[in-house]
Structures are given as structure tokens and as C-alpha cells.
Amino acid sequence: MISLILTIIARDLRLSLRRGSTTIMVMGFFVMVVIMFPFAIGPEQNILQRMSVGVIWVAALLSCLLSLDSIFQSDYEDGSLDQFILSPVPLELVVLAKCIAHWITTSLPLIIITPILGILMNLPEQGYFPLILTMLLGTPALSFIGGIGASLTVTLRRGGVLLSLLILPLYIPVLIFGVLAVKATIDGYPATEHLMLLISFSLFSAAITPWAAAAAIRSGLE
């Protein structure tokens, strides 16, 4: 089973590498959204500093959203999804593998360039490590929750806007606790509870998404 999951992840990573553009465009979008804020608000350092964590998190949510519909869309369009259902691999495992691949191709690159954006937003020194840690712990939930949305809209043409409307409200808890954890650390308080909640969001969504998304795909294909 593990080797099958790895096979599917490897295929999606290779696809993303061959396409190239999606990951780079998502990273570009992430950077652009963050850069907009100093322009809009002005270069006052303490205001930027206070907003920095929130802005980076919101930009990460939006960037993640941008690439969600690609999780199942191309497989639906070229008929691969039908073959996945017919193969001996449970569709739940396929969903799990594809969400993990989405995290690796979307969220991981965002996390890697986050320190550069921290400099742009004048993020306090002691905020870098917690910000990256919270993103590492919280962004898997974005890919998994997004997987449910992507599976619900896969058979709709132009389901992208609907997908955003469905999924963004569900991202709010991750956003709240992600930002709170970093702020607490910057202000010198322990952030353990916030981090544990973030981990629980990620684990909970990883546990329910395969079932929910597989059911949505099966009923959608009818």
C-alpha cells in the first residue's frame, strides 16, 4: 500500500516538474500579494511589523487556493480518474497521495521562500522560526481541506470560484491559530497549545479527507 501511495506521489511530482509553470506561478503570486502591502500601507516599519505574520499567512492561503483545482481536474479531463477508480487501489488512497503531492508542490515551495518575505515585511527576528514552524504544521490542513473542495467541484467547468467560496471559510481556524502561535512567541509567551491545535487540524483533515473526497468523486462521476 505504501509503495502504491509513493508511486502516485512520484507521478504527480514528476508531472508538476514537467509542467513547471504551476509551482513557479503560485510562488510568484505569493510574493506579489505580500509585496502589495508595503505599497498600499506605506513604508512605516512598525505597522508593517505588526501586520507581517497575518499578511504572510493570508497570502499563503490565497496561493494555496490558486492551485487547488489542479488536484483532480487534469485527471478528470484525460480520463485518468476513471482508471483510478477501476484500479485495485482504493480511491481513498489515491486522494491521500494526491493531496500529499499537492502539499509538496505548492505549500513546501511557499514555506521555503517565506524568510525572504519576512525581510520585506520587517518581521521581528524571533518570528522567523515560529512562522516557518507554524506553516509546516498548518499548511497540510490547507491541502487536505482543499482536496475535499477540489473533489466536489471536479466535474464542474469553471468550478474555481465556487471552490474558493467553499474552502476559504474552512481555512479560518488554521489562519487564526497559525498567526496566534507566531504572535505569542514574538511576545515571549509559550505557543504550545496553538501549535497542538494546528497539528490537530492537519491530522484531522488528513483523516477525513480521503473518505469525503473519494465519496464526492464517485458521486460526481455519475
Partner: protein, 227 residues
Amino acid sequence: MGFSVSNMSSDHLSGQNLACIRGDRPVFSNLAFDLPPGRALILLGANGSGKSSLMKIIAGLLPAISGEISIQGQNILGDKDWISQNVCYLAHKNGMKPELTVAENLTFWARLERHDGDIREQAVKIGIDHCLDLPVSYLSSGQARRAALTRILCHPGNIWLLDEPTVGLDSDGVALLSGLMNDHLRRGGRILAATHIELGLEADKSSVLNMADFAYQMPDILEESLL
């Protein structure tokens, strides 16, 4: 409709009383078929008569409103485990990623479908071996179809569901395909194919299922009450 009860426990793949609704529109009803090993069933019918729907029902991709499909007395309708081992489905779409090469695509499906057929050997049979290392996006539609047919050849399943298998194929391709289909039948395989052209199967091994015979008819009582 009906086939004799003795078929129920035989190794015939038989469907009884199948009905299908897409959206609000009844597609067919009371459909029955019988497919012994080593035989092919050709689905004929106008566009929209339910050929693809019937295949999707057999493949478990669509639910049937009623009826059952059985083999050796066992109802296999929606039985995912049985279907994944025995049914090999070639849809309208090829299920090939344009960014990956033909060989990468085929290896991926082979791993997922847990068989280790020699991909190159099968590709030679359908005349696509020279394209194995090309990305599918470089192929013509006929070449892509041949690549998809290679997946069918590698699949160990006994029942081939072929939805318009000849789309895009040139006359050489059709000839190769009919040879391969005849081979499959000779090995005791079964084929269900929807097509609009002559597939060149051995005459005594194929029969025809005319979808027009099963078009949904409104019950008389309903019709009278509407009039």
C-alpha cells in the same frame, strides 16, 4: 426478457433487467445480455442510446437503476474488487498524461494495476513501440489511441470493455487491433465493444446487441393517462 436459469451458475457473464437513467432521462431499460468466454458482444446503436452508459455500469462507474450482472451465480454489479481484477476498460479518453512519455504512463498503470506485463512486447503488437520514449503530447490522436490500447494489452483482465476503440486509428491500426482482439477471444477472453465500424472479428465469435431494442418505453398506463 430472460435467459434460462441454467446460465445463472455458468461462466457466462450475463446481465438481466438492467436500467439506466442519466440526469432525468431514462436511457435504456430491461436490458439483458449474455457473454460466454471467448465471445465478443458488439454494441450497436445511435448516439445517446446508452452504449457508453452500459459499459460504465459494467465497470462500476455508474450505478444501475435496476437489474444485475452475474457470473457463476455471483452478482458483480458494483463489486469493486472483482471488477478491478477482471475488467479492463478503454474509455473515450485515453487516461494518458500528455507530459509523461508513453512508457512512463504505461509503467504507472501497470504498477497500480499490479501486473508486470512486458510493455515493449505489447507495444510492438499494436505498432507503437517506436514512440515509447516520446511524451504523449507529441503523439497524434491515432498514436495516442494505440498507446492506450497497449495498456489494455498489458492488463490481465479477462473482460475488455472497449468504447470506440478505433477512434483515430488508421486502417493498419484497425487491422492490428482486430488481430489482437481475435487473439484475446481465442484465449477465452471476452470483449464488449461499442463501435460504428466493422471490427473484423471472426464471425462465429461475435454477436450484436442492438441498443434500440432496449430504449426506454413509457408504460402504457402512463402514456394513456398523459393522453
